[in-house]
Every structure is written in C-alpha cells, then in structure tokens.
C-alpha cells in the first residue's frame, strides 16, 4: 500500500517529480561518468605499459629503466620454480615521419629483440606467411600481419628504423597471425640485431620467465625478487607511476564535482519534499485520522524518495555512460596524437557502480528524511482544518549562529597554508554558508530589492515579501544555486590557474629558439637518445649560438621511482630557465657543477618534504649515492612528473648516461631564421628519432593541445550549472503552486496577468541574484583552496583570479533566474481566478 501510494503521488506530481529527479540524474551522471573516464585512462596507460600477456608469468626489468647484463637470466633460472627465462630487449622507437602520412599514421613502434632459443617458450609466434627469424638474421624483422597492413608493408619489403647512430634497414621476412594491441605495435628482431640497433652491446632490458607447472606463484615471485635485489623490478613495469598518481589526484577532484552536483540535488529534493509535505498536510492528517501510524507516513515519503532515487540513479548512470563514451569519442584522437596512447573506452569499476548507486539513492533518501519526519509529526487534526497556504518557519536563529561559527572557523584553514586544512576549510565554509543562508536571505533581499524595484516598480515589493515570508525555503534555493555556481567558479579558477601556470612554465622553461627532441618526450622512457654528436652538429650550424642538452636516467629514492634529468650547468641558463619556488634561484644551477647536488621539482620536493641543503640517497645503477638539494624549481616538460635535475657529469658518473634526449639551441643575434632553420633541418634529417621544433610553433602547438583539453572542463562546467537551474525552476514552481490561492486573490483584487508574471519573475531574479552572490564568494574561496591544494601536492602554480569565470557565473546566474521563472510565471498568470480561490 505504502509503495502504491508513494508511486502514485510521485507520478501525480508530474513535472515536479521530473525536475527533482533530473537533479539526481545530473549528480549521478557526473559521479558515474567522470569515474568511468579516469580509470579507463589509467587502465589504458597501465595496459600500454605492462608487457603483453602471453604465457609470461613474470617480467624482470631494471629499477632504473637501464639496460642490464644478460647473466640475470642465470640468476633467475637458479630460483626453484622458474622453468624458462628468456632475455630480451624492448624499446619504443619513433618512426621516421613520412611526407604522405596522415594525422592518424603510426608514429612509433616497439622494437622487440627476442632470444630465438627461448622466446618460443614464453610467447606464441604463429606464422601467417613467410618464415620465422633465424640465428643468422641480422637485418630481418617479423611482425603481425595487421601491423604490416597499417604500415603498407609486405613480405620482402624494407622497414627503416632509427638507430643509435642514423638509421638501419630491415627486411620483412615473416608475418604473424596474432592481433596487434593498440599502443603495442611490435616488430620482432633477433636479440643481437636489436642490441646493435639500439646500441646496447650485449645488455638486455628485460627477462620474461615462465614458472614450472605447480610452482607456487607468490612464493616464486618473492624468491626471484630476493635473488635479484632492489636493482631489479619484478612483475610489471613500474614506469609512469607518477603520471598515474597525477591522474588519481584528478580523480579526487572529479569526484568532488560529482559530489557537489549531488549535494545540490540533495538540496533540491529536500526543498521539494518540504513543500510536498506542506501541501499534503490534509492528506496526511486524514491518513493519520483513519489509522495510519506515524512511521507509516514517514515510510510513505521515504518510499517516494526511494523511487525517485532509484529512477534518477538509473537514468544518471545511463547518462554518465553516454557522457563517458562521448568523451572518449572526442578525446581519443587528441590523446592519441599527444601522448601516443590509445585510451580505449570507458571503464566502470564495481566501486564506481557502488559509489554512484549509493550516493544517488542515498542522497535522495537522506534529503527526504527530515521532511518525512516532519510529515510523521502532522497531527490527524490537520485533516479537519481548512488548509493553510504555506507553513511559516521561524527556527533560523540558532542555526545561523552555528553557520557563522563555521564560516569564521574555516577562515583559519586559509591561514595555515596546509592544503588539507584549506580544503577542509572550504567544505566547512560551504556548510556554514548554507546554514547561514536562511538568516541572511531576508536582509539581503531587502537590500537587493532596491535596484529591482526600479525595474519592477509595483511587483518588486510583493516579490520581496513573498521571498521573505519563507526564509527557510528561500535559504534552500539560495544554497542550491550557490552550490551549483560555486563549483563553476571554482572549476574555472582552477583551470585558469593551471593554464597560467603552464604558460609560465612554457615561457620560462623553453626559452630557446629551437628544440630537437623525440616526438613523445612527455612519456620519456623508451625514447631513443642521441649520442653527443648531434649537439655538436647543431652547434656547428652557422647562425646557432648557445646549445644545451638534457639527458635522462631513472633512480629510486625512498622506495619510489624518480626520473633524473642531466643538465649542463654551464650552458643551461643560456637557453632555458627554471620556475623557482621560494628560496631557490639560478644559483642552484651553478651549484650542480660543484659535486653531487640536485634540483628537485615541486611535486617531488612536496612528496618528500625536501628543504634546500638536505641530503638525499639515490639508488643508482652504480649503487647508493648521496646527493644534496641545491634548490626547488620546475620546468614545463616535467611539471607533472616527479623529477630531479643534476649535472650531466653526475649522470655519467653515477648512471652511465651520456646520451642526449633533448637539444635546445639559440640563434645568434642577426642570424637569418629561415636559413638557420633550413640548415638545422638537414642535421635533423640524419636523426629520424628526433624532430626539429621551432620553439614558437612548438609552444603554439602545446597551447593548442592544452586549449582543446579545456573543452572537457567547459562541458563539466555546463554539467555543473544545470542542477542549479533546476533548483531555481523547482523552487519557483513550488512557490507558485503553494500560493495558488494567494495569486487568485491578487487577481481578484485587480492584479493583471502581466503583473502576476512580473511578480514571479522579480522573485526569481531576487533569489538568483542572492544565490549568485553567495556562489561567487563561495566559489572564489573553493577555487583558491583547490589551487592551494594542488600547490600542496607540488603543482607549483600561481593563483589566477578568475575574472572570466566570475562574469560567466553572474551572467549564467541571472539568465537562469529569468529562464527558471518563465514557466512558473506563465502558469501563475494563467490561473483561473475562481478555481484558484477555491483551491484547498
């Protein structure tokens, strides 16, 4: 019975049920959709980075991403339980760009050098045509048939690959029938051929092992790890872990937006149910009179909210799914061209499902709880009384004081400088504001109505008193609008700050005129480096002045991975600079030349609580080395990755790295740009792994890519804004319905339809102006807190005041105020006077 009744009531409310349910839909859509996007991206990264499955039980790689001696195979084979250990080489190499290649053309390949004696026991190589590699093949490759198609290659064709020095040519001798995993486009060479191509000597980059049948997996893995020591990584490849950490940070932020939208939905629902309870006092009274218990009444309302929660959540999940799919369709190509990773499609983990369902249904039912309790307290006598138009409320005093207390308390969060406390402060601030809203809404309405009465001279004051009469309801609307708009301002604050931060890195970090670098330098591992000859050749080009290079190694510190970049302290400042954190300066660079000194970037320094002068122990391929921190600074390329910088001399001594990953060069004053560029192009042509960028155009390209990602944020902002529109529409519709009789009376005593319409419009404008004001203040705070929190995580970025965001919010807020009023204003004006006066 309760369920039937709840369902009928829900359907009976038609438009209003729809509006409130839509609010839940949006909240769940954001929570579910955003959580479907990020894990999918992480999975894509992980998938692309981990070795392809095959029969491999275990993969051994270097903890420093360095090649290692092949005798590791023997160590591995000595571990009981290991049946096969196959040495190999795997490196990603860029494909020389061809003139006719389209934007989707494959930009890189994974070169796999396989040990012919053992490879077949860890991987299948089913031949579709041609033959398998033989021991004598020094210039032959085998690849999947589908990959060969993509590269327009057939048996006997030539494949040109970049080598440590220049290029090397290979003949395709065999095609495999296995399917290629996107992002794992592999060509197979014999191990010696691959070692020669990549300049590795006899060293290898991985060992793949297969366990003996019946071997205890965990135990064997542990024994392998113990036998190899900490220089080796057992299991998957741990590369890019810091990138994944950044994505996880983003996920937290995204979750916050989803929860915000749901909180807005909660307010809308609470408001809706409060009014519903007031409207149904007589029904409730009758039910109580004919024998319904208090808890039956409460259950009735909770059942109604449960239905709403279930429907809203189901639709929200569907919409979230669509949103995530849309995202992948839109973003897939951008990500593909930017970081060469196929991000695939949305992935919804059980946790995402559980969280979305719990939040969606939970928020709805929780929001209905208080109104439901109030309904349970309605006495049977209500059925006997003529209905009151509205329920008046006066319980704002204590709540307002608590709200004020919370707002003041949250101010302390700002002063601490700790990102956790600032974040907490922002939330406390919002809660405080929400509690304060009903108390301040009346004086604010008083104040805001003065300008309004210029526009609405006759209706303005009636609208104001309508609003002031029920501060509880007005407060809830204002809070819902505030939450919606605050998240917009906060998102825009964060985005403009990130944008400003990156632009500043870009300008400072890459001040050189030319860059020669691999195409996917952001994911630097696996790129082919160039010997020192390239920098020499660049320097020799007429018109080129200062030249400096970057080198790359991997280290472990505190158990985590960190990339170590080698810079040349003598020349670095002539072509680039750091964005220094407080207390650090260019002097730190000079210090690098004077021994084992390091510069840490913001992320790394924050994660490890570093201060200048502090000692840091790094695990290098040559053993443990103690370095000291010279300063903390950031460059654009590594803004998001944990990075340490030291001198190239240190990198050679401790990491055996002498190859350049990036060459930066400046023109001399007066050199002709066109001629110099043309000469440099010639040099670069011999190094197919590298591409020559003029910094201006590279920067422009980076900005373009970055701007395109902002589209996502714009969509997010729109999705966040919609619930606040719903809040306004809903409250106004409710307030019109609740005052049907009163509107009838106004019409009876001579108000024209136009005046009624304008009265509703004026009330809506008042509510939205106050809500927008609150939203702007709360959003600025929240935005500042988000930026501070990001800074706390090590993303050094300036706080950029979101002027554009504020203007957008004010425009959106006021526009919504007008839009929301259209429907209710029209229906109020259309009310039949006699029927309205007789309305119960």
């Amino acid at each position: 019975m309760t369920l039937t009744l709840a369902w009928r009531y829900l359907r009976g409310r038609g438009a209003r049920s729809l509006l409130t349910t839509l609010a839940v839909v949006f909240g769940v859509m954001l929570t579910f959709g955003l959580n479907g996007i990020l894990p999918a991206m992480m999975e894509a990264f992980t998938h692309n980075l981990l070795s392809a499955a095959g029969k491999v039980d275990l993969t051994v790689t270097s903890s420093y991403n360095q090649p290692f001696r092949p005798d590791v195979v023997n160590t591995l084979l000595r571990v009981p339980g290991v049946a096969v250990a196959s040495p190999g080489v795997q490196r990603t190499v860029p494909l020389p760009a061809s003139a006719d290649a389209g934007p989707d053309a494959l930009a890189q390949l994974v070169v796999s050098g396989i040990d012919l004696a053992t490879a077949a026991r860890v991987h299948d190589f089913p031949l579709a045509s041609g033959r398998m590699l033989g021991p004598a093949d020094t210039a032959a490759v085998v690849m999947n048939a589908d990959l060969a198609d993509e590269l327009s290659l057939g048996l006997g064709d030539r494949l040109v690959l970049p080598a440590a020095a220049g290029t090397a040519r290979f003949t395709v001798v065999g095609l495999l029938s296995t399917a290629t995993v996107p992002g794992q486009e592999q060509v197979f060479l014999t191990l010696p051929a691959a070692q020669q191509l990549l300049g590795l000597g006899t060293r290898i980059t991985q060992v793949e092992a297969v366990f003996a049948p019946g071997a205890d997996r965990t135990q064997t893995e542990e024994q392998v790890a113990a036998a190899l020591g900490q220089d080796y990584q057992v299991g998957g490849l741990s590369t890019e872990s810091s990138l994944i950490a950044s994505l996880q940070t983003a996920q937290v932020a995204f979750n916050m937006f989803g929860i915000f939208a749901l909180a807005t939905a909660g307010f809308i629902i609470a408001n809706s149910f409060r009014t519903v309870v007031a409207e149904r006092r007589r029904d409730i009274g009758m039910l109580r009179a004919i024998g319904a218990r208090r808890r039956t009444i409460m259950r009735l309302f909770l059942a109604e909210s449960l239905f709403q929660g279930i429907i809203g959540t189901a639709l929200g999940i569907a919409a979230g799914w669509a949103m995530a799919l849309g995202y992948f369709v839109a973003m897939g190509p951008i990500v593909q061209s930017f970081i060469h990773i196929d991000i695939g499609g949305p992935v919804f983990t059980p946790a995402t499902w559980a969280m979305s369902i719990l939040l969606g249904v939970g928020v709805t039912v929780a929001a209905a709880l208080l109104p439901a309790r109030a309904a349970g307290r309605v006495t049977p006598l209500e059925a006997m009384r003529p209905q009151l138009g509205e329920v008046y409320e006066r319980r704002v005093g204590r709540q307002a004081w608590i709200g004020t207390g919370l707002v003041v308390a949250s101010l302390f969060g700002l002063t601490t400088g700790s990102s956790g406390l600032i974040g907490l402060g922002a939330v406390v601030f919002l809660v405080g504001f929400a509690m304060l809203a009903p108390a301040v809404v009346n004086p604010l309405a008083e104040w805001a109505s003065h300008p309004l009465e210029v526009l609405f001279s006759r209706e303005g004051s009636i609208a104001r008193s309508n609003l002031q009469r029920n501060p509880g309801r007005s407060g809830i609307t204002v809070t819902a609008v505030m939450l919606g708009l605050a998240s917009i301002v906060a998102t825009i604050s964060m985005v403009t700050s990130i944008f400003a931060g990156f632009t500043s890195y870009l300008d400072k970090s890459l001040s050189s005129d030319y860059l020669l670098m691999p195409q996917s330098i952001i994911l630097a591992q696996g790129n082919v480096a160039a010997g020192p000859r390239l920098a020499g050749e660049v320097k020799a080009v007429p018109g080129i002045g200062a030249v400096s290079t970057l080198r790359l190694a991997q280290a472990k510190s505190d158990g985590g991975d960190v990339q170590v970049l080698g810079i040349d302290p003598q020349t670095y400042l002539s072509v680039a600079d750091f964005d220094w954190n407080t207390g650090s300066s260019d002097a730190a660079i000079a210090q690098l030349a004077s021994g084992r000194w390091l510069i840490a970037n913001g992320i790394y320094a924050t994660q490890h609580n570093l201060v200048a002068g502090q000692a840091l122990v790094l695990n290098t391929p040559n053993g443990q080395r103690t370095y000291h921190l010279a300063g903390i600074g950031n460059d654009y390329l590594n803004a998001k990755l944990s990075t340490l910088y030291t001198s190239q001399a240190n990198l050679e001594r401790d990491f055996n790295v002498t190859a350049d990953i990036l060459v930066m060069a400046n023109r001399t004053a007066g050199a002709d740009a066109t001629t110099t560029t043309a000469l440099l192009q010639k040099v670069a042509a011999d190094y197919p792994a590298f591409r020559l960028y003029e910094s201006e155009s590279w920067r422009a390209e980076q900005m373009k890519t970055f701007s395109s990602t902002i589209v996502i944020f714009d969509a997010l902002v729109a999705a966040l804004a919609l619930p606040s529109l719903l809040a306004l529409v809903n409250t106004l519709a409710i307030s019109v319905l609740a005052r049907t009789r009163e509107i009838g009376m106004l019409r009876a005593v001579g108000a024209t339809r136009r005046q009624i319409r304008r009265m509703v419009m004026a009330e809506s404008l008042l509510l939205s102006v106050i809500g927008t004001g609150f939203g702007a203040i709360a959003g600025l705070w929240l935005g500042y807190a988000l930026v501070a929190a990001m800074r706390g995580l090590g993303w050094e970025m300036p706080y950029s005041f979101p002027w554009a965001g504020l203007v957008t919010t004010v425009v959106v807020g006021i526009t919504f105020g007008v839009l929301a009023a259209l429907g209710p204003a029209r229906s109020a004006a259309k009310l039949d006077v006699v029927a309205a006066l007789h309305q119960e």
């Binding site: 009179a289 004919i290 059925a383």
Partner: protein, 247 residues
Amino acid sequence: MSEQPTPIVEIAGLTKVYGSGVTEVTALDAVALRVPEGQFITVMGPSGCGKSTLLNLLGGLDTPTDGTISIDGQALGDLPDDRLTELRRRRIGFVFQFFNLIPVLTAVENASLPLRLDGVKDAEERAVAWLERVGLGDRLHNRPDQLSGGQQQRVAIARALSTEPALVLADEPTGNLDSRSASEIGELLSQVSTQWGRSVLMVTHDPRIASYAQRLVLMRDGRVVDDVELDGSHDGPRQALERAGLL
C-alpha cells in the same frame, strides 16, 4: 429511551481548555453523553460552541483536559499513540467536510485505504462491496477529480464503513455540497445507522440534514443545552433550535 441499548460511546465530565491565563478558552465544559449502538445522533450549535472539539476528542485526535471517554468499551484515557491509531483504524470511521480523498488514488483504492493500512487481505473486495452499497458500483476506478462532490463524499463514507467500525464520526459532511447531494448524504448516513447498525455522530449547521438523525444534541458555550429525540420530520431540528434560543 426507556430500555437503553449498550452504549458505544460513553463520556463523562469531558472538559477541554485551550490556552492559559487571559487567553484561556473553555471549549468543552463537563459534557456527558451516551451514544447507544446503531443510533444516529446529530450535534448542532453556533460556531465555537465546542461541536468540533467534541468530535476530535471522540475520535482520539485530541486529548481532553479532564473527563473520560470510552469507545466501544475501551477507555481512551492514556492510550499510547500507536494504540489510539489502531483503535481509530478498526473501530472508528471518519467523514470530513472536504472529503479528504487521496487525489492520486481511485475510488476503490481510497475506500480500501484503512483496510490496507491494517494489512487486510480482501481489502479491495470489501471496499468494492461498500462502494456498491453507497451506489458507486459504476465509478469504482475513477479518481476523485473525476467524481462529483456528492460522489466523493460517498467514497469517503464507504471508506469510513469499510473497516466495519462501531462508530462513524462525520464533521459537516454536507458543508461542501449542493442541497440535493446534501440530502442524499443525509439519507445515506441514516441508512448507515438504521440498516447497517453503526452509531453515527454528525456535526452539522444544516437543520434539514439534521432531521435525518434519530436524536439531536444542542450545544452552546461548551455545554449540552438540550438533547431531544427526532421523529423524522424536516421541521423537528428547527423547532428544537428555536426552543433553545439558538436561532
């Protein structure tokens, strides 16, 4: 009134005082009343005389300041809310001035509401039977907005009778109806007592509707000022009111 049947309602010294100090209002002042089984009693009197208060107290919707009420042998006294609710559900039927039907439910669903609240299995069949008896057999599945005022009040009466209550309390049941529908409801309530054996206590302002009752209780300023048997003539209540100086 020589041989009195068992009383369904028995009240003694019933007093209800609202407010305190200068705002104190005595709505009921030591009222005593017995309602025998199957009797149709109407209560009349000027506005504010305590009619509705009496009805509310009888229905267990409000609590008296002093005095006792017993319904169907059960003293209302200090019954907790849940027990009182149960008593209302099983032994008392309510008919209101504004019908108070749930707008989103059909006639059958409205009429079966108290039975469903009580978890009765054949709720719908019983509701249908009552709707047929009150003459709405052809409107079973209409919603309130598809029924006339008189029809809505019939649904409300079917709802009140569906639990086979001992007592039906009707508060101005015709106050919102045209005169023809009002007469039909008066007849129906008379039928409730004479044919179906329920006690009915009705509050009304309309002397013509009051004439369908068997007994008339007149009230003024919280006291019972007269208690007369009616003979079914339409003028009976009017004459009684004149005698008591209430017209």
